[in-house]
Amino acid sequence: MSAQEPTTSRVVTVEVNGQSYERNVDVRRLLIHFLRDDLDLTGSHIGCDTGNCGACSLLLDGTLVKSCMLLAVQADGGRIETVEGLAAEGELTPMQEAFSAHHALQCGYCTPGMLMSATALLRVNPRPSEDEIRKGLQGNICRCTGYWNIIDAVKAASGQEVASRE
């Protein structure tokens, strides 16, 4: 490659859920497509073209990000946590358990992003109020549940009482 030609690909090294990956990546490739297409980590999803839906939400160096709003090369050297890493030891996390117990998922397509946003919220705010939960999830669209059960699940996962419906 001559010095004048623009770089179209670069080597990227990332750690995803504790495992290291090194890949040659198109510099224009989005982080979400890198995870899904190159690393075959298809747990994180894509629901929009515009950064609105949050289905691709994950943690990059501990910060909640939408991985469709980043290029893969921007994650170089980073430590990524995705939904696949939550139950790393085979045991579901309290958040995953609460989502199931409270019927906070139907089709399950938004769920990976929703779980990552909720997990990130509880790390900084272990007992959020209902308003704080709603704010914490406002970057994630769910088209099945109307959010009520998701909010209940986050409350339950943070050890708070959830009003019974029965």
Binding site: G47, L105, G146, W148
Partner: protein, 832 residues
Amino acid sequence: MSETIETATPVAPEQALVVEETGAPQRGFAGQNVPRKEDKRLVQGEGLFVDDIKRHGMGYAHYVRSPYAHANIVSIDVSRAESLDGVYGTLIGEEVAAVTEPFFQISSPPGAHVKDYALALGKVRHVGDPVAIVVAQTRELARDAAELVEVEYEPLPALVDARRALEPDAPLLHDEAGGNLSWSGIYEWGDVDSAFAEADHVVKISELHFDRFNSTPLETDGALVEFNRGTGQWTIYTNNQFPGFAAIMMGPAMRSGLDKLRFVTQDIGGGFGNKITSHPQLVAICLLARKLNRPIQWTEWRTDFHLTMSHGNERWFQDTEVAVTSDGTLLGFRTKAIDDAGAFLRYEPLGGVIWAQVTPGCYRWKHVRLEFTQVMTNKAPVSPNRGYSRMQHLWFTERVIDIVAHELGLDPVEVRKRNYVRADEMPYTTPNGCVYDSGDYARMLDVGLELIGYDRLDERRRDAESRGKLLGFGIGSTLDSGTNNFAQSRLINPELQFSGNNEVATVKLDLFGEVVVTLGTTPQGQGHETTAAMVVADIIGITPDDINVRAGHDSYWNSHAGFSGTYASQFAVTGLGAVKGAAEKLAGEIKKLGSVVLGCGVDDLELAEGHVRMKANPEAALPLMACGAIINANNAGLPEDLDVTLNARYVFRPQFEVPDLERKYGNLTLTYAAQIHVALVEVDPETGVYEVVDYAAVDDCGKRIHPQIVEGQVMGATAHALGAATYETYAYDDDGNLLTPNFYDYHVPHSMDMPPLRTGYIESPSPFTPLGTKGMGEGGGAGIHAVCAALQDALAARGKPIVYDSHNPYHRVWELLQDPEASRSRVEVVAQ
């Protein structure tokens, strides 16, 4: 936040489905909230959605779409795109037309003459109409290469307003159809003229408008298609939610036998009806898989979905007249519906009859005349969307009720209770011959009023007033008709050879005692694996955990029929009906085998705790594992005439007749779930901004197999309705440009937008279904109706404006406040 109220409505006693006569009756799993079988994989990101599927050497497909609403295609040049390194090939409309037939049209003439192919041919008819597809090694490259396809267009005037479609100078979409009309029909039942002669008041409403939107499932449409050159078979991994319909559309178009089209689905990221009509895309991807001799992957971009897929039916109701007596009894109505189908008829004009499933809504109207006219416009094609076509009509009936009440000074609760079909009239035959199977709408309304705190309404109005707000109260009463009688399509086109309905399930007992269930359905979050396992568990005497329900649909499983899929609120009837039938068949075979092995009569046996055993002596028992092993691998010495395979297939077929086509009279659906919603809104009169401050949703879908799943569906339908009431619209400009082509502009509700919700239910088991269940899930858009009613109530003190549109963003409410007379001019009351 939410609460459920047990009601006094009679509920069928719990069926002790597990036969257990030796001990205390054992309660079945049906009716309990068991953990969903689907959840474990979905909360770990281990679901298998269509975009997750990969094949070696596959190419990514990207569509080239029209930027014009209406234009002739002068030329398409794909050469620059094809010359790019890594581009595998392209497809254009002329190639499609050379190797496929136009899609079969449901409509009678003139809609029957529409020519619809997988890609545009000769002209484009809406922004986003596909003109070419590029396939390349990566998603990014396919997208880049698509930019290099050069299409020369000759723009034509666009038809955007359906009300203008039949004017002589309106732009013409389909020359072959000779005009923009797709279908029209006059429906009249009862004695409408006499009803109007008898009426004390005639309320006239010049025009109401139901807006265009859809449910925007978070996962867009997609497919991965492999073509086997040796057998000529396509394997279509997809998220299409009605493979039975796709097969009917695709086989003749592709000149292919249906066995060459293998449909496979697994996890589907929401459907809501919007994933029924992806057959044009599936055909195009099949053709590319054959042409390019490699697997082809296609995933719609969000913008593609908004531009092209399955918008809901937009509908006008003009020249409405309502006959009312002075005590508030509703005698009848007449109206003219104009339905906007968009550019193509992909499932239409079925919307022209589907509404008739709920002709009188929840009410005892006896005399009805509705002139239905459906036209084509330069907008995205419409297709089923949660509440399909009934929602539009139910919105109309609810709007009419509240406008009548408002104008005649009647109480909206009283006028409903006076006119609701009554519990003691069930099963109730509507003026057009539909049979409402069971229900108690007045009781449901009482539950809703209690949940919302109706007795404190005046107090809350004063409180809102003290804060400068206007409080409004509104009711939405709807029906969710389910299990279609497909013979209703013959009211649209008498030549069609569709009728009845069916669904299939298989239940088998395998070698090591595994019970395996296959379904013909294509669930998108409704929890079919769980509820099917519950029904089987109760019949075989095991637990849902012991049962493997295969995820998704595969037409190679031999567990599908012509109407297989998940749509139109029917799984709890058709799907579970098939599951129950197959499980009972298997139970019978297990007992037959048991009687041979244990040397007793079949009637001496029961299934419980994983065994077939003698009722009189539970020690004399054969484990299911032994049954599976004997039949599958250890069958020497069994009697020759023992007709036991332990592999049971059952087709559920509800009893239907073909309606009287002349009178348009007959039963169109098997069950009628009901939803009564109540909303309280607060409006800021300075700005028109409003908020739903309290909300109650009361549901009756008969026997509930899994109450939590039922409530989840109620919540989802409520959220969709609230989104459509306030935020969601497919707005077009005068040139036919879609102004809301993504989630930036098309605002769906977020977690911050949801009001406090209370839920309630009653259970009126259906007398017509195997489990007493009713199909549910779609709802009837009750939230839209309730918000419209609440807004009209809130604004009443400010000049009594009329809420005339289903979609009421804040600016429209502000307009109603600024100029109430403009809306009031739509309504006139004539005393007789």
